[in-house]
């Protein structure tokens, strides 16, 4: 391949700008039309379930792009209502939610606080007024008159009848009297019998009258209490009425506020005594007793507080909220508790908003991975979206684990758009396993990390780089820097005709290039800076690669890069370790002997090979059978192995190399060890594209370079992979001076010819391969093996046919 094919360069001369500072921003990202349209659609449609899942690899800039879109849209939308929680005077455990005009919740709290403050002054004043005292005194006088008169009359009558009324600690006693004092028993007994009897009768009659008077007293006391209560209520209503009405007049446009003020007035009328506590109660023990007997939301002014849950006074449009930690409580809010006298207590003032509250009326952005990994958060989010209301419950309540009496705040209506941002895998898993997911997240915005590379997109890519640099506060790039970054973008995409728009990776390079440029004192990022940053990244990640090359060079890992060997070929694999991909040469060997058509994949036998690798081996067995022994049994036992491989092998990218090794072994034609091969092969011998081709070539190049480039060394790759080549500069330079080579092939025959230096050979009209060709030698060897097998009477090792398999057919069990 020519050097142009090994790395598609970007010519800075085609970039007609001085630096990226002069380029416009690319706010919608590059190549994201599908995703952007989906986001626009999702934002625009205000229907149930049209929430958005923005998917794509992490680091794509999805979050930032979605947020910018939402903020732009939200700015033109109305500011949503404020929300407060207040005490429910009827049901104290069910705090009421108040919807208030946007940005006015704090003012409402201030008004109510002020109102209560004024009530604290006006109610005691009303109760200390002359008018109240007079009316109350009148009631008390009337009561005293009604309740005392019977007792006074009884006492007077008793006095007239010679009976003394004596107060006891618990009531009154009656005794015969003389000279205003009770008689001694002896004195009484000295009275005439008639006198004694008369006294006894009088005392009995007076006792009954006292009983009647007591009953009257009880009745009158009840009436009196009711009358006093009515008076207190009237006085309180007078003191409260105009104050509440004044506040109501200011909140006429907020029905919830007006309703609450009405309820507050009724409660104040019922609990006027609370406002008189300071007047009537003392301190010290009284205060302690009051504290001990007080519930959090009653018996004090705390019940009149306003808990501002959502204050949108700082908003100029609909809110856009990003929940960085979408736990259950952070989403739906929580009810906090306070330690008070050794126990935990709470009331409506300790209700705290969640992000659903804060985003209500706007947009909420959540990381999908975070919300599904937080206990119960995903279920709670779905429940809120489904029911379209926010119900504040603790996790224990949600799970039914607690029966402790707690608050049950009134749910708040929910109207918002949720945007989940996450990876595609999570989207597909949720779609597969959660039946509610697609119902609630109908809009998928799929962000593509790869865009086609052409002149237009290269210019857009430059704008993208400029946008990233500006956003990160970095130096702008000159055309050389952009060109180098474009080539890096193609390398990240592993495709010379594509560009990666993975913004985090690009931003990393720009940040590090900026660091280099800063050290060099350059005002712009040049190609030199970008290359230095990329090389430094590679260098930081290169420990393992260098170690592998070193061990090969030292002969610990046996890889030949010169000479020729039968049944042995250099394959290439890629190790993916986190973000680092490195190419590693591997020795693949094949051995053959008489057998029953079985090609053994040793990796599979020892369970180190994955299914795709096994599939590749089976395909090559099929190829051998079909090409060389279509009309006779395949009397072969072959084994293939990745030498010195101690971990798993997966993928079919070595199947071409394995086939070459097998055919070399059969034909007994040596393979040049200065070459390495990658590519998969199909049953027709066509070589197919594989992944990681750049890393594979570079991996073999590094080994050869370490041993010394001879000019014979090179790598054979599928022709269909040529478009993916974005090789390192040093590799390209080595090719340019003829010290290293890369070939693109379409068939296994081409690989055989390059590897063996011998013609592969094609069948002539008689169906025979040319003498001396690799194919002819293979075919002859297989014929010879078949003959030997026949001479053994079909009892060659492994001759037992597989269940359901045809005699002589390749054993495909592996």
């Amino acid at each position: 391949l020519t050097t142009e094919a090994l790395r598609r360069r970007c010519d800075p001369a085609r970039l007609h700008f001085e630096t990226t500072a002069g380029l416009e921003d690319l706010p919608e990202g590059l190549g994201q039309k599908r995703a952007v349209d989906a986001v626009r659609f999702g934002i625009g449609i205000r229907r149930y379930g049209y929430n958005i899942y923005a998917m794509g690899p992490s680091g794509m800039g999805k979050h930032g792009l979605v947020r910018r879109f939402l903020e732009k849209q939200a700015a033109s939308e109305p500011v949503p209502s404020d929300w407060c929680y207040v005490a429910s005077f009827a049901e104290t455990h069910k705090p009421r939610a108040l919807r208030l005009p946007p940005g006015r919740a704090v003012a409402f709290r201030r008004d109510v606080d002020q109102l209560v403050g004024e009530l604290k002054a006006s109610i005691p004043t009303a109760f200390e007024s002359e008018d109240y005292r007079t009316r109350k005194k009148l009631l008390e006088s009337q009561f005293a008159e009604k309740s005392e008169r019977p007792f006074v009359e009884i006492e007077r009558e008793a006095q007239e009848r010679g009976i003394l009324v004596v107060r006891t600690p618990v009531g009154v006693a009656l005794a015969p009297a003389r000279a205003g004092e009770a008689m001694d028993p002896e004195e009484f007994l000295r009275l005439p019998a008639e006198e004694q009897e008369r006294s006894r009768e009088e005392m009995k009659r007076l006792q009954e009258r006292f009983q009647d008077a007591a009953a009257t007293l009880s009745r009158e006391a009840r009436r009196h209490r009711e009358a006093v209560r009515g008076l207190d209520r009237d006085v309180t209503a007078f003191a409260v009425g105009h104050l509440v009405d004044d506040v109501k007049a200011r909140w006429g446009d907020a029905p919830d506020a007006v309703r609450h003020l009405d309820a507050l007035r009724e409660d104040v009328l019922e609990h006027a005594d609370d406002f008189l506590e300071g007047v009537r109660a003392g301190g010290g023990a009284d205060a302690l007793a009051a504290l001990l007997s007080r519930r959090p939301d009653s018996g004090s002014f705390r019940r009149y507080a306003v808990n501002v849950l959502v204050d949108n006074s700082a908003c100029s449009g609909a809110p856009v909220v990003y929940d960085d930690h979408p736990s259950h409580a952070n989403l739906v809010g929580r009810v906090e508790h306070l330690a008070e006298l050794g126990s935990l207590v709470t009331d409506f003032r300790l209700i705290r908003a969640g992000d659903l509250h804060r985003a209500n009326g706007g947009y909420l952005i959540i990381d999908a991975r975070k919300v599904i990994t937080q206990p119960l958060a995903w279920d709670e989010l779905k429940r809120a979206l489904r029911s379209r209301q926010i119900r504040i419950e603790s996790m224990a309540q949600t799970m039914g684990l607690t029966t402790t009496a707690s608050l049950d705040p009134e749910p708040i209506p929910l109207d918002l758009k949720v945007v989940l941002v996450g990876e595609r895998l999570i989207y597909y898993l949720l779609a597969e396993h959660d039946p509610e997911f697609l119902e609630l997240f109908k809009v998928a915005a799929d962000f593509d990390e790869i865009v086609p590379r052409d002149a237009d997109t290269e210019l857009l890519f430059a704008r993208l780089l400029g946008t990233l640099a500006r956003r990160e506060g970095l130096r702008p790039l000159d055309p050389g820097g952009v060109a180098r970054a474009i080539e890096h973008g193609a390398r990240l995409a592993a495709d010379a005709e594509r560009l990666s728009v993975h913004s985090e990776s690009l931003a990393d390079v720009l940040r590090e290039a900026d660091h280099v440029a800063a050290a060099a004192g350059r005002p712009v990022l040049t190609g030199q800076d970008v290359r230095a940053a990329i090389d430094a990244q590679r260098g930081r990640a290169g420990r393992l690669h260098e170690r592998i090359v070193d061990e090969i060079r030292r002969g610990t890992i046996l890889i030949d890069t010169s000479g020729a060997r039968v049944g042995q070929v250099n394959g290439l694999s890629v190790l993916q370790l986190g973000p680092v991909a490195l190419g590693r040469p591997s020795r693949i060997t094949a051995s053959v002997r008489l057998g029953s058509g079985r090609v053994v994949d040793i990796e599979r036998e020892v369970e180190l090979g994955g299914p795709i690798h096994s599939k590749g081996v089976m395909i090559l067995a099929g190829f051998v059978g079909a090409r060389y022994t279509a009309d006779r049994p395949l009397s072969l036992h072959a084994s293939l192995v990745f030498e010195q491989s101690y971990s798993g092998v997966e993928g079919d990218s070595a199947s071409c190399a394995e086939l070459c090794a097998l055919l070399s072994a059969l034909a007994e034609v040596p393979i040049r060890q200065s070459l390495a091969v990658t590519g998969s092969v199909n049953q027709h011998g066509e070589v197919q594209a594989v992944g990681g081709v750049n890393e594979k070539i570079e991996g073999f190049y590094d080994l050869c370079a370490a041993r010394g480039l001879s000019g014979d060394q090179g790598v054979i790759i599928p022709a269909s992979n040529v478009k993916h080549l974005m090789l390192r500069d040093d590799v390209v330079e080595a090719v340019e001076v003829g010290r290293f080579r890369v070939w693109g092939i379409e068939t296994v025959d081409q690989a055989l010819e390059l590897l063996t230096g011998t013609s592969a050979g094609a069948r002539d009209d008689a169906g025979r391969f040319p003498d001396g060709s690799v194919n002819q030698r293979v075919e002859s060897r297989l014929e010879a093996l078949a003959e030997k097998a026949r001479s053994f009477g079909g009892r060659a090792e492994g001759a037992a046919a597989p269940p359901g398999g045809a005699e002589g057919a390749p054993d495909l069990r592996r």
């Binding site: 002359e130 005292r133 005194k137 008390e140 006088s141 009561f143 005293a144 309740s147 005392e148 007792f151 003394l164 004596v166 107060r167 006891t168 600690p169 618990v170 009531g171 009154v172 006693a173 009656l174 005794a175 015969p176 004092e181 009770a182 008689m183 001694d184 028993p185 009484f188 006894r200 005392m203 009995k204 007076l206 006792q207 006292f210 009983q211 009647d212 008077a213 007591a214 009953a215 007293l217 009880s218 006391a221 009196h224």
Partner: protein, 282 residues
């Protein structure tokens, strides 16, 4: 040259029956004795009428306010008296220990009114709580308090239930104003407001001038305000609007005539000191 008179009392007699009102009176007595470096004599009277009722096996009894009927017996009455006596004694001892005021507790058996008045003769001031064991919620003046207000030879301090000493002292300077002013001047650290009261505007002003002069002679600071009023009812209303801890009235004041004392205690809702020139203590 003026000279402030010495403290009004050296020995304070307080009647105790363990009721809330009498315990308030005890607090007031101890407080006053502490400020005047005086002493307190607590008197608990075992009501002889109650003792006799207990001995009259047939004497009917009605519990209030339940109205339940039963009969008393001597043992129950004696037990009740012992209990009340013990409570009263404990309250007195606790108050004396708290304030380190010297004092004594005396228990006598007899007619309550007679024994209290007799005990009052051994001190310069008698303090009584009002409204002990009321039949109704209305403040009442018991027989003993009424008798003491009318018959005691020296000054009597009446404390309605809940009232406390402290705050301004309001002095009624009417026809009995000299007694009231003289007693007030002996109160330690008193913030005096002298109301020169008369039913004639001109006379009220003249009376105010006399009160000022009297204060000057006594060497006592105080504010003087003429108060013109139609009658005693109107004057009681004026008194209601004045913040006060103690109201001082001369024993010969028209405010105390008839049901005046009861009304005064009801309306003023503060302690009332009925001042009269007393004799030397026994």
């Amino acid at each position: 040259m003026s000279s402030r008179p010495g403290p009004i009392v050296h020995r304070i007699v307080v009647a105790l029956d363990a009721s809330p009102a009498s315990l308030s009176a005890l607090d007031a007595a101890v407080d006053l004795a502490e400020r005047t470096q005086g002493e307190v004599l607590g008197v608990f009277v075992e009501d002889v009428n109650l003792v006799r009722v207990g001995r009259l096996a047939f004497a009917p009894h009605v519990s209030l306010p339940s109205g339940e009927r039963d009969e008393l017996d001597e043992a129950w009455v004696e037990a009740q008296l012992r209990s009340l006596e013990a409570r009263a004694g404990r309250a007195l001892r606790a108050a004396l220990e708290r304030t380190r005021v010297p004092g004594a507790f005396r228990v006598v058996r007899g007619s309550v009114t007679r024994e209290v008045l007799a005990a009052a003769g051994s001190g310069e001031l008698l303090i009584l709580g009002c409204a002990s064991r009321p039949l109704t919620s209305r403040p009442r003046i018991g027989r003993t308090a009424r008798a003491a207000a009318e018959e005691a030879v020296g000054p009597v301090l009446l404390l309605p239930e809940g009232a406390r000493l402290g705050g301004p002292v309001v002095v009624i300077y009417d026809i009995a104003g000299e007694d009231a002013l003289g007693a007030s001047a002996r109160l330690p650290d008193a913030d005096l407001l002298v109301l020169a009261a008369s039913t004639a505007p001109g006379e009220a002003a003249e009376r105010a001038r006399r009160a000022s002069r009297a204060l000057e002679i006594l060497g006592v600071e105080g504010r003087v305000r003429p108060v013109w009023h139609d009658d005693a009812v109107r004057l009681r209303r004026i008194l209601c609007s004045e913040p006060k801890g103690l109201l001082v009235v001369g024993a010969g004041s028209p405010l105390l005539t008839g049901a005046g004392l009861v009304s005064l205690l009801e309306d003023a809702a503060s302690a009332v000191l009925i001042a009269r020139r007393g004799k030397a203590p026994d």
